[in-house]
C-alpha cells in the first residue's frame, strides 16, 4: 500500500508492505533519513524523537499509517546546516560524545523551547527527563537547553 507522508516540508509517496511499520523504520530505511535513531523501540528512551505537527513524539511508537496527513519534522529538517538555536547551543557546549542520542535530545529540546521560550531550570529538567543519554552528557544537555533559550531570544530580537 502507498502512503503519503509529509516530511520536512516535502510530500513522499511511500510504498509499504506493512502500513503499521513504525515510522522510525520508514524514515531510516525507506527515505534515507537515518538521523532519527532508535535504541529501545519501546517509547522509553527518546532516541527516535521527531516532531509531529510541531510536537515531540517518538517515531518508534507511531505507525506510518498514523502519520499520514501530519506535518513531520526530523533532525534533517530542523535546519539546513545546523543553524537552529538548539543545534548552535549544542555545538557551543560541545554536548555530544558518541552522538547517537543527540538528534532525539535536540528534537525534544526544540519542541519544548518553541512551547516554553522562557523555561526555568526545573522546566528544562522536566522536559529533558525522558531522553536517555548513556554517555552521560546530561549535565551539558541541561546547559545547552538553557543556552538555546537565550540564543532563541537573541535571534527573535
Amino acid at each position: 500500500m502507498t502512503l503519503s507522508l509529509k516530511i520536512n516540508g516535502v510530500t513522499h509517496q511511500v510504498a509499504l508492505e506493512d502500513p503499521d511499520t513504525p515510522l522510525v523504520f520508514v524514515l531510516r530505511e525507506k527515505l534515507g533519513l537515518s538521523g532519527t535513531k532508535y535504541s529501545c523501540l519501546q517509547g522509553l528512551c527518546g532516541a527516535c524523537t521527531i516532531h509531529l505537527n510541531g510536537e515531540a513524539v517518538r517515531a518508534c511508537q507511531i505507525s506510518a499509517r498514523e502519520a499520514e496527513g501530519a506535518d513531520l519534522t526530523t533532525i534533517e529538517g530542523l535546519s539546513e546546516d545546523g543553524t537552529h538555536p538548539v543545534q548552535q547551543a549544542w555545538m557551543e557546549e560541545q554536548v555530544a560524545q558518541c552522538g547517537w542520542c543527540q538528534p532525539g535530545q535536540i528534537m525534544q529540546a526544540a519542541a519544548f523551547l518553541s512551547d516554553a521560550p522562557n523555561p526555568s531550570a526545573q522546566d528544562i529538567r522536566d522536559a529533558m527527563d525522558g531522553n536517555i543519554c548513556r554517555c552521560g552528557t546530561g549535565p551539558r544537555i541541561l546547559k545547552a537547553v538553557a543556552r538555546a533559550s537565550r540564543l532563541q531570544k537573541e535571534t527573535c530580537q
Binding site: 508492505e17 530505511e29 533532525i75 534533517e76 552528557t137 549535565p139
Partner: protein, 705 residues
C-alpha cells in the same frame, strides 16, 4: 602521485600467490587483501603522510567510540608537528597490529580500557616530531636556510634570521621530503604546547547535530539483508523445536537460519522491521530454564569468599602474623547491563570465490572482530578484511563484539551479505553483563589510629578470563586485571592480604566502564571512611597521613577547598583513588537521602582536549551516580528480570545533581586515561555521604540499607 602503502597486504599477497588464487571478481566484490593504508600523500612514517596541498594525513589507530580519542590523538600529532589541527585529516588505520597496535594493550588494536591516549602518547609525539623535522629540513634545503634557524608552527616553517616563512604546502609541493627522523631530544617542551589543553570543535560536530553522522546501524549497502536473532529470554537457552511458518509469511522475510549451536534462530529480511516481526513470529520451544537467580548468584559469590572454588590470585601478601581480627565488612555489587544506545551490529559479506570475508562493524577492536570472523568462517585471519564504523556508545561492550560471529555464520549459510542488528532488549536480557562481585574487607587501626591490618577479598567472574585467557597477567598468569583493577589501594599498611577469587557466573561477562574499579574502590573507600570516623579522625586528614603520592595529596586538598570541607552540619562523603595514571578525589553531599552535589578534583596529567576530558569525567560521574543509586540487573528463574527498558532503572537527565570538576595541571606529565575515572570515586563518595546522613551502613549496590 597516489602512493598506497601495502605492507601487510604485500605479505598476504606473497602468501597467496603460492596457491595462485588471487582473483578479482567480475560484478562481485573486488577481492581485497588486508591493510591498505588510505594515505595519498608522501609518507613520513606509519602514522603520517603529507599531500602536495600540505594537508597532513593522520592514520589514526583509535576507533571513534564517541569518547573523542581520534581528535585527541590528532591533537598530539599536530602539536608536535607544528601543524594546524584544521589541516590534519583523520583516516582510520587498517587492521595491522604490528604497526598500529596499542603498546599498552599488548600490541593489539583495541580501543578500550581508558588506554588510548595513554598508550599512543609517546608514539604520536615522536611521529609528530618527525613531521616537524622533515618539513623544517626540507624547507631549509629548498631555501638555503640553516635548520637550526627554523621552527614550525601553524602549518608554516619560519626562518628566524630573515623573518620569512613558507607554508607546509609550499614545502610539500616543492619536491622530495627529507626525512631526518627524530628522537627524544627533539620533542617539544610541554611548556611550549599551544594546542594541547584547548577545546577545538570536533570535526563531526555539525554532522552530529544535523543527523548526518552515520553509525554502523545507519549503513547498509544495497542488497545487504538484515538479520535479527530470536533467543530465549532465559540464560543458556537452546532450541528444542521451531515452527517458522508464520515468520516466513511476513513480507520481506527471505531466510530463516538456526545457529549451529542452537542458541538462536536468525530471521533474515529485506528490512529491519520485517526481520524484527519475523523473529517475534517464530514459534519456538526452548530447553528449560535453570533456577538461577541473583540470590543464588550472591550466595555463591559470598561462599566463594569463604571456600574459594579456584586458587585465589594473590595481589598483595605482606601479612606476617594473624591479627586479632575485627569483623569483616561485606560489599555486594550486582550484575550490570550496558544499555547500548546504538544496537550492536555487524555486516559480513563473503568475498568472491568464497575465500574470505569483509566485516564492517560498530566495534572496539578490529583484531578481535577478525578472530571471531576467521574462526566462524573457518579461514585464515588474513583472509578477513575488517572495517570499523563510528559507534553509538561502546563502554566496553563492543570489545568482545560477538555479533560479528553471528553475522559471519548467517552470511556464510545464506551465501549473501547480511547485517545483524541486535535489538537492545535482547542484548539486555541475553547479552554480556558486568559481572556481579562479592567482597569482604577486614581492617584494623593501631593505637595511634594508623592502618595496621588490611585484608580484602574479591569474588567475581572475570571477563578476560572468560574470553581471552591469554591476556591474563600476574606472576602465575592468572590475574584478570578487569576483575582486580582498583584493588591496589594507595594507603600505607605493613600487613596486607589482597586477593581475587574467580567464581564463574552464568550470564556472559563483559567489560563495562570501570569494570571492577567501580566496586573495589567503593569497598575500599567506604571501609577507610568508616575506620576514620569510628576512631573520631577526619577522613581527609586520615587519608593524607596514609598516602605517599604527592599528586594524590594535591587532589585531596583541592577537592577539600572546593567543597569547604570541615564545615559543620553537612553530610559530606569523600573518596579518592589513582587509576590509569589519573588521581581523583571526589566529595558527595547528601541532603534528605538525595545526592545534591558532587565535587571532583582530577589530576589527569597533560590535558589534551580540555572539554572532552571534562566531558569524560562528568559522563563517568553520571554513570557513578546511576550505579550507586539505581542500577542492578536482577535474575530470576534463570532469566534477567526485565521485559522492557523500564525494568532497568538508571539516572535520568532531570535527576542530575550539580557536578563541579576542577583539574590539577603541572608541566611534564603524560596524559592519564580518562574514560572511566569519573565512576569509582563517585560511587564511594555517595555511599560515604549516605552513611553520614543516615547513620546506616550500606553493604550492597545500588545503595540499600
Amino acid at each position: 602521485m597516489t602512493h598506497i602503502r601495502k605492507r601487510l597486504s604485500r605479505r598476504s599477497f606473497l602468501a597467496l600467490t603460492g596457491t595462485a588464487t588471487i582473483a578479482v571478481g567480475v560484478g562481485a566484490t573486488v577481492y581485497s587483501l588486508q591493510a591498505e593504508t588510505p594515505v595519498t600523500g608522501a609518507e613520513i612514517n606509519a602514522f603520517v603522510a603529507i599531500t602536495p596541498d600540505g594537508e597532513i594525513e593522520f592514520v589514526c589507530p583509535a576507533l571513534d567510540l564517541g569518547q573523542g580519542a581520534p581528535v585527541a590523538l590528532a591533537m598530539i600529532l599536530a602539536e608536535e608537528g607544528g601543524a594546524s589541527l584544521s589541516q590534519v585529516r583523520i583516516l582510520p588505520a587498517p587492521r595491522d597490529a604490528a604497526r598500529y597496535g596499542n603498546p599498552d594493550f599488548g600490541g593489539r588494536m583495541v580501543t578500550a580500557d581508558s588506554k588510548t591516549t595513554l598508550g599512543y602518547w609517546s608514539i604520536l609525539r615522536h611521529a609528530g616530531a618527525e613531521v616537524r623535522l622533515a618539513l623544517i629540513a626540507t624547507a631549509a634545503r629548498q631555501n638555503n636556510w640553516r635548520i637550526d634557524d627554523c621552527h614550525a608552527q601553524d602549518h608554516q616553517v619560519y626562518h628566524g634570521p630573515s623573518g620569512k616563512s613558507v607554508s607546509f604546502k609550499d614545502v610539500a609541493s616543492g619536491g622530495r621530503l627529507r626525512l631526518p627522523g627524530a628522537d627524544g631530544a627533539d620533542l617539544k617542551a610541554t611548556k611550549d604546547f599551544s594546542l594541547l589543553g584547548t577545546s577545538p570543535e570536533s570535526p563531526d560536530a555539525v554532522a552530529i547535530v544535523t543527523g548526518r553522522k552515520k553509525f554502523g546501524a545507519d549503513m547498509r549497502a544495497e542488497g545487504t539483508h538484515v538479520a535479527v536473532l530470536r533467543r530465549s529470554t532465559h540464560l543458556g537457552g537452546t532450541v528444542t523445536s521451531v515452527n517458522d511458518s508464520r515468520a516466513k509469511e511476513i513480507a520481506g522475510v527471505t531466510h530463516i537460519h538456526q545457529l549451529e549451536d542452537a542458541s538462536a534462530i536468525a530471521v533474515v529480511a529485506t528490512d529491519s522491521w520485517a526481520a524484527i516481526k519475523g523473529a517475534k513470529a517464530l514459534e519456538v520451544t526452548w530447553n528449560s530454564p535453570t533456577e538461577y537467580s541473583s540470590k543464588i548468584e550472591r550466595t555463591a559469590l559470598e561462599s566463594a569468599l569463604v571456600t574459594p572454588p579456584t586458587d585465589p590470585v594473590i595481589l598483595r601478601a605482606s601479612v606476617v602474623a594473624d591479627q586479632p581480627i575485627a569483623p569483616a565488612s561485606t560489599f555486594y555489587a550486582p550484575s550490570l547491563t550496558h544499555v547500548l544506545p546504538e544496537p550492536l551490529n555487524a555486516t559480513v559479506e563473503g568475498n568472491s570465490l568464497g575465500l574470505g570475508a569483509t566485516v564492517t562493524s560498530a566495534t572496539q577492536s578490529l583484531d578481535l572482530d577478525m578472530r571471531y570472523t576467521a574462526q566462524t568462517w573457518k579461514t585464515a585471519p588474513f583472509m578477513i578484511n575488517n572495517k570499523a564504523t563510528p559507534v553509538g556508545g561502546a563502554y566496553g561492550r563492543r570489545v568482545f563484539n560477538d555479533t560479528v560471529r553471528e553475522a559471519a555464520e548467517i552470511a556464510k549459510a545464506i551465501g549473501q551479505p547480511v547485517q545483524v542488528i541486535r535489538p537492545q532488549l535482547d542484548e539486555m536480557q541475553r547479552g554480556q553483563v558486568r559481572p556481579a562481585a562479592a567482597q569482604r574487607i577486614v581492617a584494623e587501626l593501631d593505637d595511634s589510629g594508623n592502618l595496621a591490618y588490611w585484608r580484602h577479598e574479591i569474588a567475581s567472574d572475570g571477563t578476560l578470563a572468560t574470553h581471552l585467557p591469554s591476556s591474563l597477567k600476574g606472576e602465575q598468569g592468572t590475574e584478570d586485571n578487569t576483575a582486580t583493577d582498583g584493588a591496589y589501594h594507595p594507603y600505607r599498611c605493613s600487613q596486607q592480604d589482597v586477593r581475587w577469587i574467580r567464581d564463574r557466573a552464568l550470564p556472559l561477562p563483559g567489560f563495562l566502564r570501570g569494570v571492577s574499579v567501580g566496586y573495589t574502590v567503593w569497598a575500599i573507600e567506604t571501609t577507610i571512611e568508616r575506620l576514620a570516623r569510628k576512631s573520631s579522625q577526619c577522613p581527609l586528614e586520615w587519608r593524607l597521613r596514609h598516602i605517599d603520592d604527592p599528586r594524590l595529596a594535591t587532589v585531596l586538598h583541592q577537592v577539600a577547598n572546593m567543597v569547604r570541607w570541615g564545615e559543620p552540619g553537612r553530610n559530606l562523603g569523600l573518596a579518592t583513588m589513582e587509576f590509569r595514571g589519573a588521581r581523583v578525589a571526589t566529595v558527595a553531599e547528601v541532603i534528605d537521602r538525595n545526592v545534591t552535589a558532587l565535587w571532583i578534583a582530577v589530576d589527569a596529567g597533560q590535558v589534551i582536549h580540555r572539554k572532552q576530558l571534562l566531558g569524560q569525567i562528568e559522563g563517568g560521574a553520571v554513570w557513578g551516580l546511576s550505579m550507586a543509586l539505581h542500577e542492578g540487573l536482577r535474575f530470576r528463574n534463570g532469566a534477567a528480570d526485565i521485559t522492557s527498558l523500564a525494568d532497568y532503572p538508571m539516572i535520568s537527565n532531570g535527576q542530575l545533581p550539580e557536578i563541579k570538576i576542577e583539574l590539577v595541571e603541572e608541566p611534564n606529565r603524560s596524559p592519564a586515561g580518562a574514560g572511566e575515572i569519573g565512576i569509582p570515586a563517585t560511587i564511594a563518595a555517595i555511599c560515604n555521604a549516605m552513611e553520614v546522613a543516615t547513620g546506616d551502613t550500606y553493604d550492597a549496590l545500588p545503595l540499600e540499607a
